[in-house]
């Protein structure tokens, strides 16, 4: 599983960071940074919540 953030859409709401601080971190520039692009498969539910709850639809999951 690969998680992607579209920085043209990200508005820095940090909803994802609230869901998982080990994967998402709001940078000093006000945009989300990924601490890992490949979260563990055990974490899929949380990642799906992050994609679903991102207010601007900036996150997506790519399955290889």
């Amino acid at each position: 599983m690969k998680i992607c953030v579209d920085l043209d859409k990200c508005a820095g709401h940090a909803v994802c960071e609230n869901l998982d601080e080990d994967v998402f971190r709001l940078g000093d520039d006000g945009y989300i940074q990924l601490l890992t692009e490949h979260p563990s498969e055990d974490n899929r539910n949380v990642m799906e919540d992050a994609v679903d709850q991102c207010p601007t639809g900036a996150l997506s999951i790519q399955d290889s």
Binding site: G12, D28, G30, D49, T56
Partner: protein, 401 residues
């Protein structure tokens, strides 16, 4: 939800449930009406406030808040309109203009930037509790929920701390006058508040300081210095949204905690649950109950035809109790709710800029009251007054401890 090809007349569903936003029962407790609407009439109409539609289901509200092309914010987002003399910026802008204003401010309110305020906010809260601790009773709206947010926003904007009772009263009058549809009173307060901010901004043009008002003057839009009217629009909105809403959030959270001794005991026993309690308070009682949009073209929603230019109200307070998302006890304060994707802060590009600040204030208030006045409870249920179509807060919250 949307199906523009369906051109049937106004569906019967539109009149099934009576939606009267001025009815005292609704103002006191809109949640039973929301529940009826979600079930039977997801696109409801009211003739009040010049006529409007209300969306009540979580999914519909989220979809609408993300479709900025169909659901425009540019004709105002408060219904009935709050008497703001100029548009609230950036919330009353659509793309692409919206991002130009919001982008710069995004970093000012990031979780990281707001975290730094924690010691200051705690000191203010602690000082406010010092004033009441020995009394054994107090009105927590008057003593705590009312003063804290305006003191903090004054600090951020750079306004003199002692000015807070004045701008808080003006802002509250604007919201109350809107709810009572007294446009003249709202406009008078709006003009006075604008005049106050104008003078503060002009003073910073002459003598810049290290505060948000000064930083606003320096914003560039399309490579040009921001227009003076736009600075006023930003400052006005930040001042209003930056405290009225948090007064509501804090007062309603304290009311629920005061009414739920079991929840209170659990939080005292396990303070790590406090952030979850904050989220649950926001879910159960979003201080901004509704935000308005204007449909930019004719559209059919759930078989109901809406005409270009009509107002649509998104009821966050209803979305947050939708059983499709919150199947487990949606009307109860469930402190350790497993998933809590509430939209008390709204959704889409206009989602609350100050969410991190609101959460910080709410968390610190809850931590401090549980430590300093544990066991606080409502002294007289009949004295509690909550209400409002647009915005809810507890006007009086007398408690004993």
């Amino acid at each position: 939800m949307t199906d523009t090809s369906d051109a049937r007349g106004r569906g019967e569903t539109a009149t099934e449930v009576k939606l009267d936003p001025n009815h005292p029962d609704y103002v006191r407790d809109p949640y039973p009406t929301y529940s009826d609407l979600r079930e039977k009439c997801p696109v409801a109409h009211s003739d009040e406030f010049g006529g409007f539609w209300m969306l009540s289901r979580y999914h519909d509200i989220r979809e609408a808040s993300r479709d900025t092309e169909l659901f425009s914010s540019a004709q105002g987002v408060t219904l009935p309109p709050v008497g703001n003399p100029m548009p609230f910026l950036p919330i009353e802008l659509d793309p692409p203009e919206h991002a130009k204003y919001r982008k710069t401010m995004q970093t000012w309110f990031s979780v990281r930037a707001i975290e730094k305020l924690e010691p200051t906010v705690r000191e203010i809260v602690s000082g406010l509790i010092d004033d009441i601790e020995a009394q054994g009773h107090a009105d927590l709206t008057e003593a705590l929920a009312g003063p804290l947010p305006p003191i903090v926003i004054a600090l951020l904007l750079g306004l003199p701390r002692e000015d807070w009772p004045r701008f808080r009263e003006l802002a509250e009058t604007m919201v109350n006058a809107a709810e009572e549809q007294d446009q003249e009173r709202g406009a008078v307060s709006g003009m006075e508040l604008m005049g106050y901010l104008y003078n503060q901004i002009e003073a910073r043009r002459k003598a810049p300081t290290d505060d948000m008002l000064t930083r606003m003057i320096a914003i560039e839009i399309d490579g040009e210095p921001i227009a003076p009217d736009a600075v006023l629009g930003l400052a006005f909105f930040l001042l209003m949204a930056g405290h009225e809403t948090s007064v509501g959030g804090i007062s309603m959270m304290l009311m629920h905690i005061a009414k739920n001794p079991e929840v209170q005991q659990r939080l005292i026993a396990d303070p790590t649950l406090i952030p979850k309690a904050v989220e649950e308070a926001l879910r159960l009682e979003p201080p901004i109950q509704t935000i308005a949009r204007t449909v930019s073209r004719d559209v059919c929603l759930h078989g109901v035809n809406l005409t270009e230019g009509e107002k649509v109200v998104l009821a966050w307070g209803s979305a947050n109790r939708d059983t499709a998302i919150f199947p487990d006890r949606p009307d109860e304060f469930v402190v350790d709710r497993d998933r809590n994707p509430h939209i008390a802060f709204g959704d889409g590009i206009h989602r609350c800029l100050g969410a991190a600040l609101a959460r910080l204030e709410m968390r610190i208030v809850l931590e401090e009251v549980l430590q300093r006045i544990p066991g606080f409870r409502i002294s007289d249920e009949s004295q509690i007054e909550v209400g409002g179509f647009l915005a809810r807060h507890v006007r009086r919250l007398p408690v004993d401890w």
